[in-house]
């Protein structure tokens, strides 16, 4: 009996992973599940969720974008608990949809007609960072750390969509957020102060105009190196794709050597709370993080 109570989750969430989490960002999904299991936070995936439409949909068709997100919010109602979202872009689109449909009756009626259902806007949509920093709490996170990441110098990278536009994500201050620093700080790692933590990486231009990404992401890598960081930490699959997958190409174009591992924030947190490193997808990263983690005695 007592054993059962001890096994019960302290928190439970419905979970919207988003498309990347099942493909190019699978290590983000693996490490998220590992971390949450270790912290006894339940994650229950919404069945048969759809793509949120991301940037391409709202770029040319706002109604489609709102309808796709409203459909996902409707599907999420099947699962109990606030909706946990890992991808910064999915998070942003779902929050923008709630915001816009909540304040604009005309758009809400159009969307209801498009999805042939009443829109449900009541379920709180939360990014993983918010769950860890606020619902679970930094003190509890700190107490769960088994392997402090002391000596690791981390550049926390926010990118665009975790905090912007103002009044929508409600995650943290729109121009000077600290939530990533606070969460990583709870593991004992050191966070560097750097100039490009909120500059755009070029996002989905990686497909259509990779030259744009090489320039913008190159500037971000240069800034992290200037600040003396060992690695960059992100909470968005697109940011990760650009910083990690395109890093070699950027080195070739700029002649600058970075060899800078780019971690998902959940990978480092899970490592700190004692999840088996073999289950954190380090092998899927293009820039090999093993030498750095060995040097810091973390694996």
């Amino acid at each position: 009996m007592n054993g059962n109570i001890a096994m019960k989750n302290v928190l439970d969430y419905s979970y919207y992973p988003g498309c990347s989490m099942h493909a190019s960002a699978k290590e983000y999904d693996e490490s998220t599940r590992g971390l949450f299991k270790s912290l006894k936070i339940g994650l229950h995936e919404v069945p048969d969720w759809f793509c949120c439409g991301a940037t391409p949909a709202h770029n040319v068709d706002e109604l489609l974008s709102l309808a796709l997100c409203a459909k996902n919010l409707e599907l999420a109602e099947q699962v109990e608990g606030d909706l946990a979202v890992a991808c910064a872009a999915c998070f942003s689109r779902l929050k923008v949809t709630q915001h816009k449909l909540g304040e604009n009756d005309i758009k809400r009626k159009q969307v209801e007609k498009a999805i042939d259902a009443k829109v449900s806007l009541d379920k709180p949509v939360k990014h993983l960072l918010e769950i860890l920093a606020q619902d679970f709490g930094l003190e509890r996170l700190n107490a769960a750390v088994e392997k402090p990441l002391s000596g690791l110098k981390v550049a926390p990278y926010y990118g665009c969509l975790l905090t912007r536009p103002p009044d929508v994500p409600e995650l943290d201050c729109v121009e000077a957020p600290t939530i990533m620093e606070r969460v990583i700080g709870a593991t004992g790692a050191e966070t560097v102060s750097w100039s490009h933590r909120m500059e755009c990486c070029g996002a989905n231009f990686t497909l259509s105009r990779p030259g744009v990404v090489l320039k913008l992401t190159g500037d971000i890598l240069a800034s992290a190196k200037r600040a003396g960081a060992d690695c960059i930490v992100v909470a968005c699959p697109l940011c990760h794709g650009n910083l990690d997958i395109r890093q070699k190409e950027i080195e070739e174009v700029t002649g600058e050597e970075y060899n800078m591992p780019v971690f998902y924030i959940t990978q480092l947190l899970a490592l700190a709370v004692g999840v088996n490193p073999g289950k954190l997808g380090f092998g899927s990263m293009i820039v090999n993080p093993t030498p750095l983690l060995k040097e810091k005695n973390l694996i």
């Binding site: 498309c19 990347s20 099942h22 493909a23 190019s24 960002a25 699978k26 069945p47 048969d48 969720w49 759809f50 793509c51 439409g53 991301a54 940037t55 391409p56 949909a57 709202h58 770029n59 040319v60 068709d61 706002e62 109604l63 489609l64 309808a67 796709l68 459909k71 604009n104 159009q110 007609k113 498009a114 999805i115 042939d116 665009c160 969509l161 912007r164 536009p165 103002p166 729109v174 121009e175 500059e199 755009c200 070029g202 996002a203 989905n204 231009f205 497909l207 259509s208 105009r209 990779p210 744009v212 320039k215 913008l216 997958i245 092998g283 899927s284 990263m285 293009i286």
Partner: protein
């Protein structure tokens, strides 16, 4: 020569294309006319060096009735939707939403924009949602290369990502796939009837 320095310049409502301005304002939910050209949007824009007209000039061109130049140019397609402009505007002009509205107008008109790659990528991305319900990155990249005629683009990247398990050979399947098709069809019908923009 006439001294133009102290003469008043008059612009008619027609010259300024107030109709177009109102259309953009209705679609975006943001004022276009309130912009007073401080330039803060362009100062923070990460994409300005790739644009033919920086963001503040886009708004000025629309205010002055030069919208055809905006829709034909590549600036609107080089906006990354990072929302920095909307965040920093001191006059609450939501430039990111205005960019969405301008892209939609250009997209619907199948206009003469110089930027085709970004439009192609958007089209394939949206088609993927309609066909598969979720993104299928492998197909997205492959079809983009074929349709844009860049067969060798990122050639070395594909096998590397496949070996890391980051690209899947097969797409994810939704049991409720027919529902996504219904959403697309309903939106098309609403537009035919003039019930939605």
């Amino acid at each position: 020569m006439k001294n133009i320095k102290n003469t008043k310049m008059e612009l008619s409502q027609e010259t300024m294309s107030v109709g177009f301005v109102k259309k953009v304002e209705a679609l975006s939910g943001s004022s276009v006319r309130r912009c007073f050209q401080c330039g803060k949007c362009s100062a923070g824009c990460p994409m300005r060096s790739f644009m033919d007209h920086p963001p503040n000039r886009i708004v000025r061109l629309i205010q002055l009735g030069q919208w055809e130049r905006v829709l034909a140019g590549r600036s609107i397609w080089y906006c990354a939707s990072c929302e920095t402009c909307s965040t920093r505007c001191p006059n609450k002009v939501d430039l990111a939403a205005i960019m969405d509205a301008l892209r939609k107008l250009s997209w619907d008109a199948d206009g003469p924009s110089k930027e085709s790659y970004v439009q192609l990528a958007n089209r394939l991305f949206i088609n993927n949602i309609r066909t598969y319900g979720r993104q299928y990155e492998m197909r997205l990249a492959a079809v983009f290369n074929v349709k844009s005629g860049q067969f060798l683009k990122d050639l070395m990247l594909g096998p590397k990502l496949l070996s890391k398990g980051k690209l899947k050979m097969f797409h994810q399947k939704n049991k409720n796939l027919s529902e996504i098709e219904k959403i697309f069809t309903r939106i098309e019908e609403m537009r035919k009837k003039g019930e939605a923009p």
